[in-house]
Amino acid sequence: MNRTRIVVVNRATRDYRRGQTVVRALRGISVTVETGDFLAVTGPSGSGKTTLLHLLAGVDVATAGEVRFLGRDLAEMTVEARAALRLREVGLVFQRFHLLPMLTALENVELPLAAARVPRGERRDRATAVLERVGLADRLRHRPAELSGGQCQRVAIARALANRPALVLADEPTGELDRAASRRVLELFRDLNATGTTLVVATHDLEFAAGARRRIEVVDGRIAR
């Protein structure tokens, strides 16, 4: 299989200022994600997993070092240019889902498509197809309050997949779910990866991480193994 480098992180450091103190969240980390990867990023709370995901997505930029997404240096792009890149090339899944409560599952999935100016008819078709793909064909008109936690997370995954991104990043996707729902999300991720979706998942859940193709452990801002 011809594998393309989607994102390359080279000796990236990220510092945050908290009052008078500078907190170093990442310390010269290097990671490469290629097409077809299913990478699990593990580590204790505060180790820098979320910060690494934010750098991979271009949500945040490195204080030092370099992050290249499909060959483009993210540090040289404006905030809005990085947002536009994320809209089309990155799908994000959050621990707390962050679905709009007043919209139905279908409308939540349509949101990034609408933001990418996909025509209304095509938008609806693609959102329906991706919800069917995550097993929610019978929940299209339900609002988040009418869905279980696992179903909400699958809606969030569908939203992340809607614009057919090059990379899907998930931050603790099973953090709010029970074990059965976590297993279903893992199965879904494995199915998605098997059909070509590239995934990077930050997780505490070692069982979940064991289901990934590749795993790195981040401790104190560095890759431990």
Binding site: T51, V59, E80, R86, L87, R88, M102, L111, A115, R159
Partner: protein, 396 residues
Amino acid sequence: MLALNAIRQLRYRPLRTVLTVGGVAVATAMLSDMLMLGGGIQRSFSAALESVGYELRLSPKGTLPFDTEATIRNIGGIRDTVESVAGVENLVPVLAQTLSITAGRSESPEPTASRQTLALGLDADEQGLYTLLAGRPPGDGEILIDPAMATLLEAHPGDRLSLGISSRFDTWGSDAIAEVSGTAEFVFATRRDMPVALPLADLQALSGRADQASFAMIRVRQGHAPESVREAIAAVTDRVEVVTLAGIAEQVDERLSYFRQLAAILASVSLLVASLLIGTISAVSVSDQLGVIAALRAIGVSRRRIVGNLTAESAVLCGVGGGFGITLSIVVAHYLESILADFPGLPTTVRFFVLSPGSLATAYGLVVAVGVAAGLLPALRATRLEVTALFHRAEP
């Protein structure tokens, strides 16, 4: 799309939405009513003045018509002088005098009803101070009465009334008898007044004020500017005050400056309340949705689109609340007008609240603009934050 999302967001929190819409409606109603009150009296007074149809007024030096009981002496001479000025078509003198009017025959032991009222002595062919409702204009020995007076005295055309110049009612007697010629609605009558009109010469004779008038109305010939004719009259006689309708309106406006200041202050308070209300609701809404805003920014939804969505909420709240507010303001204005109609000394043609599309549109536009601006600030502040900072605030 933005408005639709905003409506859904507002429907998602119905109690908050209803309370906010109610608050905006009350603020809009107050603002709208204050705008109507601010210019209402002045506008309706000007309209009443213009309805009379004469462009200039002549009054005793230093006064306005109806201001004092002072009269202009030698009105005949002044009339000749004024009518000789280029641009003057004619001058119509009017004498205003308090009369005691009594129904019943003087030979009967007791009067059936009496009333002290304002009488206007005028030339029935040259006036604009009343509109005939029934009967005919007053000729010699005749009197035209207000419908309320006709009801009070049970007087009908052809009935005879006793007229007394004394203001005392404890003596039964009369200085003259006049026959009722009809009824009329008087332009500057207050609700408590029941004015009457009789020929100028009759009232002058009855009140012992021969060749006197309380004020005079001057008609300007077509093609002449009232202001230049006023200046020409002022140049030929300095014994009287000559004012244009615009000048009277200006002076009335000055006297009503307290109303305008009060209305302006209350209108400003209403706007402030509306902006604080919308600003607070918008800030709470933004705070509630920080996680979603962070997620949308992270997904790549543009800042402009998110700000648009959040601001659309404020716009919908103000638009709907403002609409209810305008309706409420009309109802409140009618109610207040009915109370204030008894304001002492104010003609019934002069209104406190004059409904005008301009006032309503201004109130609505101001509330929507201020509300949207107040809603925009929290939205801009939130979306200016880095996505990581937004997440940190949403999930500390």
